[in-house]
Structures are given as C-alpha cells and as structure tokens.
C-alpha cells in the first residue's frame, strides 16, 4: 500500500467557546428577567430593530425582547400552545405569529419555557416595523404601561441617499434627537434613577466596540470555507448583540466569538464539512422546524455564508456604528439614522445590498424565505428575486413557511424546491465548466 499523507489538524483551542458563552449569557438574561416580578424591578419591552438599549441600559432597566422570546418557544417546540391561546381570544391566523405567541404567554400565566415572562413597565417601540406599534398597544391596554414609539424616518424612495448636509437629514436628526430626550425623561421616571450622561457615554463606547467586532465576525465568512453558518450560529451572535448591546459581557462575547472564528479560518475549518455551495439567506429561518430547515441545505453541502437577518435585526450593529462620545445624545440620533434605519429600510430596497453581498462573499445564490408572520421581511421577496435574476443573473430560491406557526411548514414541498434549486446550481456549474 502507498503511504497516505494525512495532515493532522491540532484540536481547536477555541472550539465551542462562543456556544457555551451564549448559553450561559442567555440563561442569565432569563434569570434577571425572571426575578423582576419578585424584586419589583421595572422591565422594558423593546424590539431588535431600534431597541434604544443604549438609553435603557443607562438606567439599568432590564430589557425583554419578545421577538427573541417568541422564537425560543418555537425552538423549544412550544410556540403553538401560545399561538393558539391568542387565536382563541380572537387574534387572526393572518397576523404576526410572534405577536400571538407573546399574547398567549401573557394570557396563560406568563410561563416561558426558559423562565418567568415579565410584565412590562415600559415599552420602547419603533416604526421600524409597523407591527411593533400595534403589538405595543396590546401591552398598553393590558398593563397600562407607558409606550414610547421612536419614529425613525426611513429611506424615501427612488435615488434616496442620506446626505448628512441635506435639509432632510438635519430635519430627521432634530426629530429623532428630540424623541431620544423624551425617552430619557420617561426612563428616568420609570426607573426612579437620574440620567447619567457619563454612563451613557460608556455604553456608547462599548457599542462602538461591539459593532467593530460584529463587523469582523461577519467578514470572517468571506473566507472559504465559511467558518460559521449565518443561519445557526448567526442567530446566537445576533441574539447576544441585542440582549447585551453596550454591556461589558456583550463586548467579551464578541471577542470570544471572533477569536473562535479566526482560529477556524486559520485552520481552514468550515461551518459544514466539504462546503460546496455558499448562499445568502434573505428573510428568516423557520424556527418550528429549525433543524430540518438547516438540514435541507446542509445535505447539499450548502452553507449560509451571509444572512440579511444578521443585518436588519441588529439595529445597525453590522454597519459600523461610530458614536461620537463627546456629544452622546446628538450622536446617538445621527447614528441611529445612518446605521439602524438603513438596515431596516434596506429590506424594501434590498436588491443592491443583496447583489453586493453575493459578490463580496463569493456566493452561489440567494434563498428568499418568506414567512407569513412577517410582512416586513417578506412581502417584496418575489420581486427582489425576479429583479436579481434578470438584472444581475443571481439565482434565487423562493420558499415560504413561517417563524413560529408549524401549520405553515410543508416539509415535502420545501424539500422539493430546495432540491430543485441545488440541482439548478449544479447544472450552472457544469455549464460554466467549474
């Protein structure tokens, strides 16, 4: 027998660090929220796009992210219990499943699979998603808590570019800054604490650092093979970026994750063995059937090297937030408009961003996953797919299911479409002689 040259790779010293860290941090997050009732600590309900965590953390107000809590019920196989409880009291099958899971939780004893679900004492909502506003009004009615709606003017349409010297930008900044000042007053009232601008400054500084690290994490996936799956591990990174935005533990986590990924890159270790196809996920995952969903791509050696979710759901953290610490409130207003708002507005005018990511990450195509629960992320996907195919020759797969509603998952149909898409990618390679 011929001797084989087998390269023995040393054990990765950082392997599993970020997964362990995220489990521990999420567990602590739930513990803190679970204690809120007993300790009479005011909790703020807020949302991943435009949470204003910078302000809430300045007042040490614990934040509940009901979107994250809802997707966790789906991963735990419990979302239908809550969703149906909401439908039983009149909520339509045709509205956001996250809203219904949350309503179900609030109306069935507030027992979440991961801990006690707190009552909100304050709601920080925004127009980043119109459903946020309607959702907030549900809590307003149920608990009588104050609702603050951050109104962020978005991209205005054809040819819109934010020119920071324009009247439009100045008008928007003045409006947003004034609202942030209103929220500061409200948070002081709810928390019973005075506003400490130096504390805000520290938090902003940490968000700057987290944003820098987060950007570096995303960039590791430009390597082949991609060191992480933007669908699976990406959700963890995104989750921590939201719940610990501006906290020391958030910075530490990002450093841990980046170190782990850089080591994978150094040793050529990919998120999946023998990576063959690199994709962009537009939309979200299906959390009720998360493993099956991921598996349908992995069986074709397909990895999501990028995901739009890791952009829009992070309040601009992927867009290089650079708060000017010498003028924290003014800078917070400006940066929200030039980072968080475009990450959301970009969903509606997504084609340019998607085409750029496909090129920068060396992707083979795009999976557009529309979910009935979320018009914000899903309504225009067929048009984006068609536009990119016909104007940029980017192949796209359009599939539909839901975030948390298992009734909308059709495994055979999903598998057929995904298989057909990969077969077409294979065929393109053959034709291209790759």
């Amino acid at each position: 027998m011929e001797p084989h040259n087998i390269a023995i790779r040393p054990a990765l010293s950082q392997a599993g660090n970020s997964r362990e860290a995220s489990r521990s941090l999420i567990s602590k997050w739930w513990e803190r929220l679970g204690d809120a009732d007993a300790t009479a600590t005011p909790v703020a309900n807020t949302f991943v796009m435009g949470s204003l965590a910078e302000v809430l953390n300045t007042f040490d107000i614990p934040m509940m992210f009901p979107e994250i809590a809802a997707l966790q019920t789906a991963i735990k196989g419990k979302s239908m219990d809550y969703l149906l409880a909401a439908e039983d009291i009149g909520y339509s099958p045709d509205i956001c499943g996250y809203v219904k899971v949350d309503i179900g939780l609030h109306n069935t004893g507030r027992e979440h699979p991961l801990g006690k679900y707190p009552k909100p004492s304050l709601v920080v909502s925004s127009n980043m998603c119109n459903t946020y506003i309607k959702w907030s009004e549900v809590w307003e009615r149920q608990y009588g808590c104050p609702v603050f709606v951050l109104d962020l003017p978005g991209w205005r349409g054809t040819g819109f570019r934010y020119d920071m010297s324009s009247d439009t930008f100045k008008n928007d900044v003045a409006y947003v800054e004034s609202q942030i000042r209103d929220l500061i007053d409200l948070a002081a009232e709810v928390s019973g604490r005075p506003f400490d601008i130096d504390k805000l400054r520290e938090i902003l500084g940490r968000v700057n650092r987290m944003s820098e690290l987060y950007g570096a994490i995303l960039a590791t996936n430009k390597h082949r093979p991609a060191p992480f799956n933007a669908l699976t591990e990406g959700i963890n990174y995104m989750g921590i970026a939201n719940i610990l935005r501006g906290q020391p533990e958030g910075v530490e986590f990002m450093e841990t994750a980046l170190a782990e990924l850089e080591e994978r890159v150094a040793y050529g270790v990919g998120a999946i063995p023998d990576e063959r196809f690199r994709l962009l996920l537009v939309g979200t995952a299906c959390y009720t059937n998360f493993r099956e969903f991921v598996g349908m791509f992995e069986r074709w050696k397909g990895v999501f090297a990028a995901s739009e979710y890791m952009s829009y759901a992070g309040g601009g953290i992927d867009r290089g937030i650079r708060y000017d610490l010498s003028r924290p409130i003014e800078s917070l207003a400006e940066q929200i408009l030039i980072t968080a708002q475009p990450s959301m507005s970009g969903i509606f005018y997504s084609h340019d961003w998607q085409a750029r990511v496909v090129e920068e990450y060396g992707l083979d195509g795009i999976c557009f996953h529309g979910v009935k629960s979320c018009r914000t992320t899903s309504a225009g996907l067929p048009d984006s797919r068609d536009w990119l195919l016909n104007n940029a020759s980017i192949p796209g797969l359009f599939i539909q299911s839901d975030l948390v509603d298992k009734r909308l998952w059709s495994e055979a149909q999903m598998r057929n479409r995904i298989d057909a898409f990969f077969e077409s990618l294979e065929s393109r390679r053959v034709q291209a002689g790759v």
């Binding site: 978005g154 205005r156 409006y175 004034s178 914000t376």
Partner: protein
C-alpha cells in the same frame, strides 16, 4: 332633478369603478402637459400637488374588474388585495401616465410596494412620505413640515412649477370646500340617512380621489342640493356604523347588501379624503397649516399611532355622534393592522355592551350571499332585542 342626480352618480361611478381612469385621461386631454401624482392610501396632502398644477390620483384598488395576472409574481401571497390590484394596474401599463408615485408607511406590506415600484418603474419618482408615527411628540409638527417641504421640492422639479404661498392657499381653499361638502354629506347620513343611501354616498365621496377636485366640488355640491330637497320617508331600519374601510374598500355590492338591511349612519370608508376634519387655515404659512392640521385636526385610523386619539374611544365617539344602534367592525383580509385592531375594538364594544358584528372582507369578493346572511341575521337579532 333626480335625472340630473342619476347623471352625477353615473359619472362618479364610472370614475371610481373604471380601471382605465377615464377622469384622469379626460383631464390629460384638456391639459396635455399636465402631470399626475398617484398616491397610495391612506392620507396624502393633495393640496401640495394641486398647487403645482398636478392632478392627484388616489389609489383605491379594484374589484373583480381587474384580474391580477402579473402582480402575484412580484409580491408574497399573504398580502392584501389592494396592494395587488394597484400593482397590477401599474404593471399592466394603465398607470403609465403617472409622473410620481407616493406611498406612506401605513403598514409593512405597503412599504415594500415602494421598493417594488422603484425596481419596476426606475424612471418614475417613487417616494415614501414618512408621516409621523410619534404624532403626539411636540416635535412632530416641525418634522412633518420639513417632510412636506421635501415632497414639495420633488413636485416642483417634476412639474417645473414653483409652489408659492399664494398657489398653496388657493389649493387649500379648493380642498376646504371639498371637505365642507363631504362633511355635509355625512351630516345628512347621520341625521336623515333615508335621504341618501350608503352606496350613493360612497360613490359621491370616493370619486373625489380620482377626478379633479374642481369638478368634484361641482358634482358633489349639486348632488347635495338634490339630496336635501328630497322628502323620502324613513324606514324601520337599524342604524349602524361601518368601521374598516380606511384603506382597501369593500366592494360596492357588499355595501349595497348592507344598506338593504340597515342605515349606515357613519363610516370610515376612504377616510383619507376626510382625514382633515376642519377647514385648514389659509392665513400665515400654508404649508405649516397643512402639517398642523394633519396632527391636530384629523380623524383616526388603525394605521396611525396617536395616543391622543385612542382608537376604541374614537370609534365609540363616532357611534355616539351618529346615534348608531350597532356597529360593523370589518377588516380587509390579510390586513395586519386592521385584524389586530379588531380584537381591541371588539373588547371595547363588549365592555360598552354595544351590539356589533366582526367580519372580514376583500375588494375582489364576488359572492355576497354570505355577507347578506350575516347582516340580515345580525340585524334581525337586534330588531328582536330592541322590540
């Protein structure tokens, strides 16, 4: 006189129902260099477009007269019908006369429409007018003024016409007259609903969104004179309020079924045309006056957040003001804000002990037997109760 009324109504019906937009084409034939601005529901300050000589056209959607063939390939399956039919109108070329298209961020699906239009009509200015969703903020008025000025600037570029204070004041006067006429129409509905039926009222009102306001004022003014001169006798019908027509409109046939069984004494149909509830001041800065009116003297809808106007309280106030005996609380199919608000409306009406019917509709519905059965059963159950 009734013959004249029939002719007026026929012109309004054609204007509202004909997917070829006859009133727009007539205006364009009379104004060969004229520009048309299309705007999606719910509210747009049409005075600004008018002041630059543009014809504002309100996107209303269509019933089964528009077959959706192309739009379904561009938008997900779970969005409402009005987004599909208006997109279909664009993709089929029927809206080629538009020079500008404006949406407002009333819902998440509507925001996508701006993106779709931007991709499909790259030569058209497709704008989102970000009306404030923090309407009670003391800074909202200043922000909105800036946003109106931005839109005005784009309109001026497209038309090549400056919007002066004088031209804007003149437009506000014209639209104030239109609002006065619409208020009068609704006053008659509340006080003597037997003088004008729901479908007539709807057609007389909605036509204003798709024809020049000058012509609409003429038609509506004359129609009101005729309606006021009538001496119809009241019938023993239930007085109801219809809620749910803020964006997508129920088919006329459905409204017809409803008026067969009840007097609809108030509604929120095409509420954007009646969003401003008072005359807009013409003294001072007219643009500022328009912005203030949007925030301070306006109606309500499920797609606007304004804590000063809690929607359940506003509905109850509408019911009280119209002395209604029951309410129809409807929502368009797949309309997320409407469906979510239905639950709150239901709870408030239950708490108030007020009879109401919860239902969904779609503009493209073609069979109204189920609606008739629902309305009749509801009305009969209440007539027994009130007897």
């Amino acid at each position: 006189m009734e013959q004249e009324y029939s002719r007026i109504l026929e012109e309004c019906r054609t204007t509202v129902e004909d997917p070829e937009y006859p009133a727009v084409h007539k205006w364009l034939s009379e104004n060969p260099n004229g520009k048309v601005l299309g705007h999606f529901q719910v509210y747009f300050p049409e005075e600004i477009a008018h002041a630059a000589g543009m014809l504002p056209l309100k996107m209303m959607g269509f019933d089964s007269s528009v077959q959706v063939r192309k739009a379904d390939a561009h938008i997900a399956a779970f969005v409402c019908s009005i987004l599909r039919t208006t997109l279909e109108q664009g993709l089929s070329g029927r809206l080629d006369f538009l020079s500008m298209y404006v949406t407002t961020p009333i819902c998440d699906a509507a925001r996508h429409i701006s993106g779709v239009w931007t991709r499909r009509f790259p030569d058209m200015s497709c704008q989102i007018l970000y009306l404030p969703q923090n309407a009670s903020s003391p800074h909202a008025a200043g922000y909105l003024l800036g946003e109106y000025r931005r839109i005005a600037g784009i309109i001026e570029e497209i038309t090549g016409t400056s919007i002066t204070d004088e031209s804007l004041r003149a437009s506000i006067e014209l639209f104030n007259e239109n609002r006065r006429l619409l208020r009068e129409l609704y006053r008659i509905r509340r006080e003597t609903p037997w003088q004008v039926g729901l479908t007539d009222s709807y057609l007389l009102m909605a036509a204003g969104g798709a024809m020049p306001r000058e012509r609409h004022n003429e038609l509506l003014g004359r129609a009101l004179e005729i309606i006021r001169s009538r001496d119809h006798r009241p019938q023993d019908k239930l007085r109801v309020v219809f809620e749910g027509g803020y964006c997508e409109q129920p088919p006329i046939e459905m409204l017809s079924v409803l008026q067969d069984v009840a007097y609809v004494v108030d509604d929120d149909l095409m509420i954007g045309l009646r969003w401003l509830t008072e005359d807009v001041a013409t003294s001072g800065d007219p643009m500022q006056n328009l912005a203030s009116a949007y925030l301070e003297a306006s109606s309500y809808s499920v797609v606007q957040r304004d804590p000063r106007k809690p929607k359940e309280a506003m509905l109850l106030a509408r019911i009280k003001a119209s002395r209604a005996e029951a309410a129809i609380v409807a929502a368009p199919k797949m309309c997320e804000p409407g469906l979510e608000e239905q639950v709150a409306y239901d709870a408030a009406l239950v708490e108030a002990g007020f009879p109401h019917l919860i239902m969904e509709f779609e503009e493209k519905t073609a069979n109204f037997e189920q609606a008739r059965m629902e309305f009749e059963t509801f009305a009969e159950s209440l007539l027994f109760e009130f007897a």
